[in-house]
Amino acid sequence: MTTSEVLRRWWVGAAVLAALLAFPAFAPRYIVHIANFILIYTLPVIGLGFLTGFTGRVSLAQGALFGVGAYTTALLTTKFGWTPIATFFPSVLMTVVLAVALGGAAVRLAGLYFVMATIGIQQIVWIVLMNWIDLTNGPQGVRSIPAIGLGDYRLETPQKFYFLTLAVAVISYILAKRVIGSRLGLYLRALSDDQLAASSVAVEVGRAKVTALALSAAWAGAGGFLYAHYVRYVHPDMFGLEASVLYLVMSMFGGYRSIAGMVLATGLLESATEYLRPFGEFRMIAYGMILLLGMMFFPKGILTIVRRRTSARTAGKT
């Protein structure tokens, strides 16, 4: 039995959703705060999953795309006076357009060359954010980004913001599952297995890859939008190469071509960085060890633990 089959059981889904909805009522503010970050990060991570897990294109520019989404809404709301909600689609659109303009040609390159191209894109975006001071405020960042409001109700506290991030994350999860279950999802997996064979069964390989890139950018842009209005401050360093590496690790660590695995890994790794704080300066060493051991014992992702269990159980039944 696969993970998705387990999750498809309605009571599993209902229980998970109920727990997630009730959670902020019981959890301390700080925990809800971390949960918000986890939910926000699932967006760029799932987005990257389209490109990396399913299409076999490793990108190190997801941090930059996340930043494009965040900066678009940050600048539209602070400099041009837009209402936050109205900037959601422009932020997503801007990220997609920029990603396709910068990476549309590169995504057709063979694996390693594409990785190098994405590092270039990552650096270009960071340099522009840092140096186009008239537009982006450069190293000062953009401050006082307004909170998202529904009428007079402003999503200013982590508890209030939580329901928005949860709603967006759940929608993004369901949409992502549907994209992967679509014919496009089949084409992407086929071309990641064998590009030549894919084109010989009429898959327009180039177009499919650009579509995967656009999807990954859309998810990153949506995540960036949420991030900007949650933290309410953006700075180029939040969207540097380090962020890109982190999203890549999160999207690979969870499970090979598993969206649930990506979400799980985002949760585990993001909470690990928080819970490892008592280790002080040894924190990143401990974090590195978790990654190392995870990759050594579960090269196809930590979700294989769950899978092995469930398949062993079903095998025992028959």
Partner: protein
């Protein structure tokens, strides 16, 4: 008019002539054999016909359309499918998915329709699933649909590649050494299968090393050597042609009597 015809098709790799002025006609409903020693250009010819390589010179016409500048996916949609000499399956995907991808024939604009759950999308998927089921049944894979392709035994992988090509519902099917690596009984089964596919009206071009298989299946055969077409005619006659014998077994020089086998 021929289903497929090439005129003076030439291709060179870094100066090495892989195909030289190939003129070839494949008639509708035919089962054509293509033989020749290793490196004679058989697979290169298939790669050119199916749009994986671009010709340096010459033209290719398929069903009345010039295709020598078309992309691989476009040529497939116009009705030409192929298999590969070294099996190129989608290794991580299930048997059913391998065939399903082909049965969808690269339908575009599908992502949005599928995500939104449109009726037209559902219909297209149902139709593709029916085609896939039919092709899997024909190739004897109906019981293995949920296995992962790379876990299949070799003989079944071979049939899966054939099923995948059939799911494209081709007018012309190019088979590149389908019998390579098969044992005699699998070979006989394959021969029967090819005959059946041909019987359903699919035109087939078959690249094969096994001369007996070619003479057994194909009325007509062509022979390639060093990228040139050196013989074209009834398969039983062609294999007896002295030039063909020479190409396969080496020059039989009078006086010295050297036989290279």
């Amino acid at each position: 008019m021929a289903l497929l015809s090439t005129s003076k098709v030439s291709l060179a790799f870094a100066g090495v002539r892989a195909l030289v002025d190939i003129d070839l006609q494949i008639e509708e409903g035919e089962l054509l054999g293509i033989i020749g020693p290793n490196g004679s250009g058989k697979s290169t010819l298939f790669n050119v016909l199916s749009g994986i390589y671009r010709v340096d010179q010459g033209s290719i016409e398929f069903r009345g359309q010039r295709i020598e500048r078309c992309g691989a996916a476009q040529i497939v949609r116009s009705g030409m499918a192929r298999t590969f000499q070294n099996k190129r399956l989608f290794g991580t995907m299930s048997v059913l998915e391998n065939v399903l991808v082909a049965a969808l024939k690269g339908a575009q604009g599908s992502a949005l329709g599928d995500v939104l759950g449109l009726k037209s999308s559902a219909r297209a998927r149902t139709k593709a699933a029916e085609i896939a089921d039919r092709c899997l049944a024909l190739t004897g894979l109906a019981d293995s649909t949920h296995l992962i392709a790379r876990d299949l035994p070799y003989g079944a992988q071979n049939r899966l590649e054939l099923a995948r090509a059939l799911a494209l519902e081709p007018t012309l099917l190019l088979l590149d050494e389908p019998a390579a690596g098969l044992n005699p009984s699998e070979r006989a089964e394959l021969q029967e299968l090819i005959r059946r596919i041909h019987g359903e009206g699919v035109t087939i071009a078959l690249v094969e090393h096994d001369v007996r298989m070619v003479t057994g299946l194909c009325a007509r055969a062509i022979v390639l050597d060093h990228g040139e077409k050196i013989a074209d005619g009834a398969s039983s006659m062609v294999v007896r042609d002295p030039r063909v014998q020479a190409a396969y077994f080496g020059e039989v020089e009078s006086g010295e009597g050297t036989h290279a086998i």
